[in-house]
């Protein structure tokens, strides 16, 4: 079987969620073109065993999302090795969402079912779109998975932190939609600590606020892993000792 080439949806930035919805509903094809880097196509080999294991699902668990995230991250290694800037192309993420992982996006994020593989509302098709802003990056259904896997890979060289990164939606958005989420090491330390059941949502929120406040006077970029972990632990113990310190 010939290797698959990474592609992009043309002009995706000109399309709104409503436009995407109407094209899905009317079964129209998007304009697709292969990505080239230094005049060569880029491979996109998504693990077929993962694809097969997810076919026909009516819902997706965190464990399913972890396996998709890892397979997606591995499939995009050639693109990442060519240039990380390729992965900011909204057309690439639209192609992955609309063609490679459409069923996942429609069922997990757009309210579709196996009986009617259609988004329930036009607005939900925004999960196929992305942009440069951190919020828009993290709210693209498939880019969200890649961000979770990439943070783990950058921080530790493995995928051990992916389950923690994807475990809780509030934690994911609180970490990866903020500037602190750009530091993979800090992001994974935070999710690994805070996804534990002993922490409730309000406490997690306060810890993230507290860490953000500390980082307004400290250059995160100059800290090593141990110092980052100490910073998190200090905030947690401060909050445990003075729960009313933050609203």
């Amino acid at each position: 079987m010939a290797a698959k080439k990474l592609c992009r949806v043309e002009n995706i930035d000109d399309l709104t969620a409503q436009d995407v919805h109407s094209m899905i509903v009317t079964n129209k094809d998007f304009s697709i073109s292969p990505i080239e880097w230094d005049n060569s196509p880029i491979r996109f080999d998504f693990d077929d065993s993962v694809r097969r294991s997810l076919a026909g699902r009516t819902a997706f668990s965190v464990a399913d999302e972890v396996s998709i995230a890892i397979a997606l991250h591995e499939a995009l290694v050639p693109a990442r090795e060519s240039s990380i800037a390729l992965l900011r192309d909204s057309g690439v993420w639209a192609w992955i969402g609309l063609y490679e992982l459409r069923e996942y996006v429609l069922i997990r994020w757009c309210g579709a079912t196996q009986n009617s593989m259609l988004p329930t509302t036009p607005e939900k098709c925004s999960y196929f779109l992305t942009g440069d802003a951190l919020v828009r990056q993290a709210r693209c259904a498939v880019r969200r998975l890649w961000i979770a896997a990439d943070a783990s890979h950058r921080a530790k060289g493995d995928y051990n932190a992916v389950p923690a990164n994807l475990a809780l939606t509030d934690l994911y958005t609180g970490v990866f939609e903020r500037m602190l989420g750009l530091d993979a090491e800090l992001a994974c330390l935070l999710t690994t600590e805070l996804h534990q059941p002993k922490y409730v949502e309000d406490f997690r929120r306060k810890v993230l606020i507290g860490v953000g406040a500390r980082l307004s006077t400290v250059a995160l970029e100059c800290l090593d892993s141990r110092q980052k972990n100490s910073l998190i632990q200090e905030v947690i113990s401060d909050l445990a000792a003075n729960p009313s310190v933050l609203p």
């Binding site: 043309e10 002009n11 000109d14 399309l15 436009d19 094209m23 129209k28 998007f30 304009s31 240039s83 990380i84 800037a85 992965l87 900011r88 440069d132 802003a133 951190l134 990056q137 961000i147 990439d150 500037m179 989420g181 750009l182 530091d183 307004s216 006077t217 400290v218 250059a219 995160l220 970029e221 100059c222 800290l223 110092q227």
Partner: protein, 364 residues
């Protein structure tokens, strides 16, 4: 980036000088602002390096320096150990590729032994391969503490590693500028229309003036009272007074310029089509002047048609229409398309709401 004023900072915000140069594809030589002449003015600003639309630039390099007397820190720290206590560098943020890191520079006490007139010389150089980044790169010069813990004798506090002692205004390298409002269309320059700079002849009574060139420039008249304050204000668009009026003024300018700009671009494309009937959409687009190509790429959707097609395909589809239909498109579709693209209805509604509010709802 740095909000407030940390209690432990000794130096706070320090002025920084920036020098920068670029490397163009196929040429290993580094080129400075002086080397590029007039072209350099559209790239380098005080805190900005704008490479928008410059696909030919492969590398950009910044050298940042700050020089500060040690008087402000001498009460807090042993001056002879400043090189051991502090380090200088640049932190680099690039949201679109999700990266943030520190590039270490050099910090030197001069003269070595300290003394009354001693000062700190700080310098860092950062270099970027443009194609490895996207959007905007922020580069912020900072001086931070180096040891795990450091006592500030003056304030009697212990600082942890990485505490910010000094910083400078961040430099922004714009690779493809994320622009908003009217800024998304033009490079904007504020000038006095009554005393214009040499070579510029704006009509004295107007409030804006456009130069339709490679990077179209919009000149706004600084003589008009409150116009600059209004248009550069940061107030949110929403229903705030300034925001609503700003959007309305922007909208007027944008409608006028885009209407004529799109017509001019279509006329040039039509002429090329007549000259070369077999030209593809891509050929036609490439053959346009830079400014016309830019406006077609960005705004051809305002002419109706299928927005899922590439701009060159949309252009070809329009040029395939007969001359009367093209005229109708220009006369009817452009106003409609621009209203939709610029959000004119909402702008007007907000303005009406603000006006109604200031008259307590008693509009005649």
């Amino acid at each position: 980036m740095i909000r407030g004023y940390p209690a432990h900072t000794c130096l706070g915000k320090v002025p920084c000088t920036m020098s920068s140069d670029i490397q163009i594809a196929g040429n290993n030589r580094w080129l400075s602002r002086e080397d590029l002449g007039d072209e350099g003015h559209s790239i380098w600003g005080e805190f900005v390096v704008d490479l928008t639309g410059r696909d030919d630039i492969e590398h950009v390099r910044l050298r940042l320096n700050f020089d500060t007397p040690i008087t402000k820190i001498s009460a807090a720290y042993d001056i002879k150990k400043v090189e051991e206590y502090f380090e200088f560098g640049a932190r680099v943020w690039n949201k679109s590729t999700r990266r943030r890191y520190f590039r270490r520079g050099e910090l030197t006490l001069k003269p070595k032994g300290g003394g009354k007139n001693a000062h700190l010389e700080c310098t860092v150089e950062v270099q970027f391969e443009v194609r490895e980044f996207g959007g905007e790169i922020e580069v912020e010069p900072i001086m931070v503490t180096r040891p795990q813990t450091l006592l500030d004798n003056d304030r009697n506090i212990i600082l942890g590693r990485g505490s910010l002692i000094a910083w400078s205004e961040p430099i922004v390298i714009m690779l493809d500028r994320i622009r908003k409002g009217i800024d998304s269309l033009f490079d904007i320059q504020w000038v006095s229309f009554s005393k214009p700079p040499p070579g510029l002849e704006p009509p004295a009574n107007s409030f804006f003036f456009v130069r339709w060139e490679r990077n179209p420039k919009l000149y706004l008249n600084v003589d008009i009272e409150n116009l600059q304050r209004l248009l550069v204000s940061d107030s949110k668009a929403g229903k705030s007074h300034d925001g609503s009026v700003r959007r309305a003024v922007n909208s007027i300018v944008a409608h006028q310029i885009l209407s004529t700009g799109l017509s001019a671009a279509l006329r040039q494309a039509s002429q090329h089509r007549l000259d070369e009937p077999d030209a593809t959409g891509e050929d036609l687009l490439v053959g346009l002047d830079d400014q016309n190509r830019a406006i077609i790429r960005g705004w051809i959707g305002a002419l109706g048609g299928n927005r899922a097609l590439r701009p060159e395909e949309q252009l070809l589809a329009i040029l395939d229409l007969d001359a009367d239909e093209v005229s109708i498109r220009i006369a009817e579709q452009i106003p409609n398309g621009l209203q939709s693209g610029l959000g004119t209805k909402k702008t007007v509604e907000n303005l009406i709401a603000v006006v109604a509010n200031s008259f307590s709802g008693k509009l005649d």
